[in-house]
């Protein structure tokens, strides 16, 4: 699965997610990605999220919209992402990852699996990582 979230100079927010799904899935199996609120969600007033992980689990907790609910309660993008992923782990014992952004441009790339490749571009700086805790930067 791949995904992106963005806020443009006018403050409009968007998300996109695309996937081949789960390894050796049944023919016709559809996961979280095309389900609004699970594979992704965007709202100029709250933020945007794109998710990745075990689709059946992400749908059970509607992970993208859940994270934005936490942001509506005042949590930061990073805190809300961690809370959403922790809820998915505790309720359905499943792993995943998200990229999240809020209307001011604060962003997070968080995951409960061992790895997730991610990158962010902001103020002419490129940020990226893959393993837990990695955060490399370079000038664009």
């Amino acid at each position: 699965t791949v995904g992106a979230v963005a806020v443009d100079a006018e403050g409009n927010i968007a998300c996109a997610t695309s996937t081949g799904g789960m390894l050796n899935k049944m023919e016709g199996r559809v996961g979280d990605t095309p389900c609004i609120g699970s594979g992704g969600y965007a709202d100029n007033e709250v933020g945007a999220v794109s998710t990745t992980g075990h689709g059946e689990a992400i749908m059970k907790v509607t992970l993208a919209r859940l994270i934005l609910f936490h942001m509506e309660q005042g949590k930061s993008a990073e805190e809300a992402s961690d809370l959403g992923l922790a809820y998915m782990k505790s309720r359905v014992n499943s792993l995943g990852g998200v990229v999240t952004v809020d209307p001011r441009g604060c962003w997070a790339a968080r995951f409960s699996s061992r790895q997730m490749s991610w990158a962010a571009a902001q103020r002419d700086t490129l940020h990226h990582g893959l393993r837990s805790g990695e955060h490399f930067t370079q000038s664009i």
Partner: protein
């Protein structure tokens, strides 16, 4: 703080030998999205371009490089959503399309529906003039190897893909 774009290449198990390509792929996608934003483009243009670039990159489970279903075929899903009007578009179980994310955007822009699936999504692609590609062009040696490996009786495809607890 604006503009900003953040991309991911998928959570789960990324073998050491594929880590480098995965990292360079997400960095290229972020750069491409950011260039659009810096050029005055919309956040929707930026996320679609970034995701389409990763769909074209065989290192990722989307578009070319998608994992295979139990029959060894590629079925893909995609969604886009914009935050001003909460409009969104999605496709599911779509086949023979190089960039499902672009088709999802057309569902948002050209129909009153939220999602088109399977043959309906493929019919809509033809109506929109999006060329179909041979399924073979979306399958890589790596995705075929993982498919075969997970056909064995005691295989665990979810753990193979997601890895163990982080």
């Amino acid at each position: 703080m604006l503009p900003v774009v953040v991309v991911h290449g998928g959570a789960g198990h990324i073998p050491k030998e594929r880590a480098e390509r995965s990292t360079s792929g997400v960095c290229s996608a972020a750069r491409a999205g950011y260039a659009i934003l810096r050029g005055g483009g919309s956040s929707m243009d930026a996320v679609v371009e970034a995701v389409a670039l990763m769909e074209d990159n065989p290192a990722f489970n989307a578009g070319c490089g998608s994992v295979l279903n139990i029959k060894g075929e590629v079925e893909m899903d995609a969604i886009v959503m914009e935050g001003k009007t909460l409009a969104s578009g999605a496709v599911s179980a779509v086949r023979n399309i190089a960039n499902p994310v672009r088709l999802a955007r057309l569902v948002m822009d050209k129909t009153s529906h939220a999602c088109l699936t399977a043959e309906g999504a493929n019919l809509f692609a033809r109506q929109m003039g999006i060329p179909e590609v041979p399924m073979e062009s979306l399958i890589t040696d790596y995705s075929r190897m993982r498919w075969k490996k997970n056909l064995e009786p005691n295989a665990n495809p979810v753990e193979c893909q997601m890895g163990k607890t982080g």
